[in-house]
């Protein structure tokens, strides 16, 4: 940090005030409210509120519907991350290999980043919905009983593909940056040492991009947890039969549809704990990178 500083006393507070004000009103106040609300229970008519301590939490954690949503979230996050990162790594490796057209390919590959998750979901739904989707039509022609609106696994497959599709651009750009940062001389040394290209990838490239992969894994998990709300709401609305109901989606339905405020707040707090854990993991990684990078 520069040691040269301006001597003003009041000005820094003025400069900080807009951000602090927004943060207090829209972050801290609601977060405290969520904490407080998570320990209250309202009767169904909203007439009486009682303090129930950690009761909401134990209810949530014992609720089969919540456990189901937690499992769904894990399946959804893992599938989305693996599919998206795998595809992106393949494309990034290919993009590093070609001599011409790099910029052209990149331009065409970054589009999905700009597409809203809800719209991304709809695009895939247009192609795969049983009523008019060309691909649904082709799958049925091929003898497959395709109906993601009725079959839970198929619904999950569709939201995973849509979510992974949207995230390819992001992962692609980071993998390209990571691959570019590998010193050429290292690969040349390995080639002189007799490593063929497949072996070079396994023994040199992969270990060197491992930190980036780990970083992306965390980012993709956070993305799958929170940013995919729009995809799920647009494509399946959590259905069929809750097959695609993730934790965030459940917070929303319990709070805004079922109006079970205490439970919704308790679920929010649990989610907060998960985010804090993920962020902590991410920061440990950043620390490491600062030291060794």
């Amino acid at each position: 940090m520069p040691k040269a500083v301006f001597p003003n006393r009041l000005l820094p507070y003025l400069l900080l005030s807009p951000q602090i004000a927004v943060t207090l009103v829209f972050f801290y106040w609601p977060a405290v409210q969520a904490l407080w609300q998570s320990m209250l229970r309202e009767d169904p008519f909203g007439l009486k509120t009682t303090f129930v301590g950690l009761q909401n939490f134990s209810n949530v954690l014992a609720d089969p519907a919540w456990l189901n949503a937690a499992w769904t979230t894990v399946v959804f996050s893992v599938s989305t991350s693996v599919l998206s990162m795998g595809t992106a790594l393949l494309l990034a490796t290919a993009a590093e290999k070609v001599l011409t057209g790099k910029a052209f390919y990149r331009t065409l590959l970054i589009w999905p980043y700009a597409v809203a998750p809800a719209v991304a979901g709809l695009l895939w739904l247009f192609m795969f919905n049983p009523a008019m989707g060309t691909f649904a039509y082709m799958l049925r022609d091929a003898g497959l009983a395709w109906d993601p609106l009725l079959d839970g696994d198929q619904a999950m497959g569709l939201v995973v593909v849509a979510a992974a599709w949207k995230q390819i651009s992001y992962n692609f750009l980071f993998f390209v940056a990571a691959l570019q940062s590998i010193p050429r001389s290292l690969l040349e040394a390995a080639a002189i040492d007799g490593a063929r290209s497949g072996k070079r990838f396994r023994t040199i490239v992969f270990p060197l991009i491992a930190p980036t992969s780990f970083f992306l894994l965390v980012v993709n998990t956070v993305y799958a947890f929170f940013d995919t709300f729009g995809i799920i709401d647009a494509v399946t609305a959590g259905g069929p039969a809750r097959a695609t109901e993730t934790l965030v989606y459940k917070v929303y339905t319990d709070g805004f549809v079922n109006l079970d405020l205490g439970s919704s707040a308790a679920q929010s707090v649990i989610l907060m704990a998960i985010v804090i854990a993920l962020t902590a993991v991410q920061f440990r990684y950043v620390e490491r990178r600062v030291h060794y990078g």
Binding site: A4, L15, F26, Q33, A34, Y113, P117, M272
Partner: protein, 282 residues
């Protein structure tokens, strides 16, 4: 190049072409659909090339007004999305720039407390505090207002951290030279810091504009009035597979219009976008 690996490169091109097809196809499919009549859309398979209804469909969508979402024209929807995206992007940039400036270039009591207070908001995405934030909006009377769409998403630890990091790379002597040259803090901000931050601001602007444009959950909650819908929300409200009257041609046009502005920004400002993305890695 290590090897003259022509076969490998050809394979790489093949992989990339398949990749581009997969990545671009959903958008192409929707674009093709947006140029067909409802009848063609409802009779799969859809042709692979655009149909003849382009002018008619886009004309209808832009000048006709759409009954399905309460007679709100697509112009209004685009306007709402633009206001929200610009408001969030510019708002975040301004308040983050000011607070990073305060934290890096001044020493004052509670400086680190303020920094941590902003930093911790990284861990509180809007999705986990939906209900109480919604209640705050109701209490403040911000439902169905632009302020309600923008303000809760304006505080950003990421942008503040990015500016802070950049400011810390500015040599101390530059500040000292400016002080000796008679520049106070605000003049220093205007004459030296802002011009030096130009590329950072541009990069951040692209990322934040996309962030604002693609918001879903928040605008869904704080808008009841259809006239306040963003184009993404309106599109979702138009789609119904159960309803035989769904104007699919209009849906497809709206989808393309919802995608086009942010895609154009990403493609046209690619250089800043890539920089901003890779550097704002938290």
């Amino acid at each position: 190049m290590i090897e003259r690996d022509a076969a490998g490169r050809a394979l790489a091109h093949l992989v990339l072409i398949v990749g581009v097809l997969i990545v671009a196809f959903p958008i192409w499919y929707t674009f093709v659909a947006s140029t067909q009549s409802v009848e063609t859309i409802l009779r799969p398979p859809l042709p692979l090339v655009p149909g003849g209804e382009f002018a008619e469909n886009y004309g209808n969508a832009i000048f006709g007004g759409m009954s399905r979402i309460g007679g709100v024209g697509v112009g209004t929807l685009l306007f709402n999305s633009t206001v929200m995206a610009l408001g969030i992007a510019l708002g975040k940039i301004v308040i983050s720039l000011l607070s990073a400036f305060a934290i890096v270039f001044f020493r004052f009591p509670f400086r680190m407390a303020c920094f941590w207070m902003i930093f911790i908001t990284l861990m509180l995405p809007v999705e986990v505090r939906i209900m109480p934030t919604y209640k705050v909006m109701v209490d403040l009377g911000l439902i169905d207002t632009y302020a309600g769409l923008i303000l809760p998403l304006v505080a950003s630890a990421t942008a503040t951290l990015l500016f802070r990091q950049f400011f810390m790379t500015i040599p101390a002597e530059l500040v000292e030279a400016a002080r000796i040259d008679g520049a106070g803090p605000l003049r220093f901000l205007r004459d030296i810091l802002l011009p030096l931050s130009k590329t950072n601001i541009a990069a951040l602007f692209v990322i934040l504009f996309i962030y604002g444009w693609t918001q879903y959950l928040w605008p869904l909650l704080v808008t009841n009035d259809n006239r306040m819908n963003t184009i993404v929300i309106a599109l979702k409200k138009m789609v119904s597979f159960a309803d035989a009257d769904t104007p699919w041609d209009m849906v497809m046009v709206t989808a393309i219009l919802a995608i086009a502005p942010p895609v154009l920004i990403v493609v046209l400002m690619q250089r800043w976008f890539v920089r901003g993305l890779v550097e704002s890695e938290k």
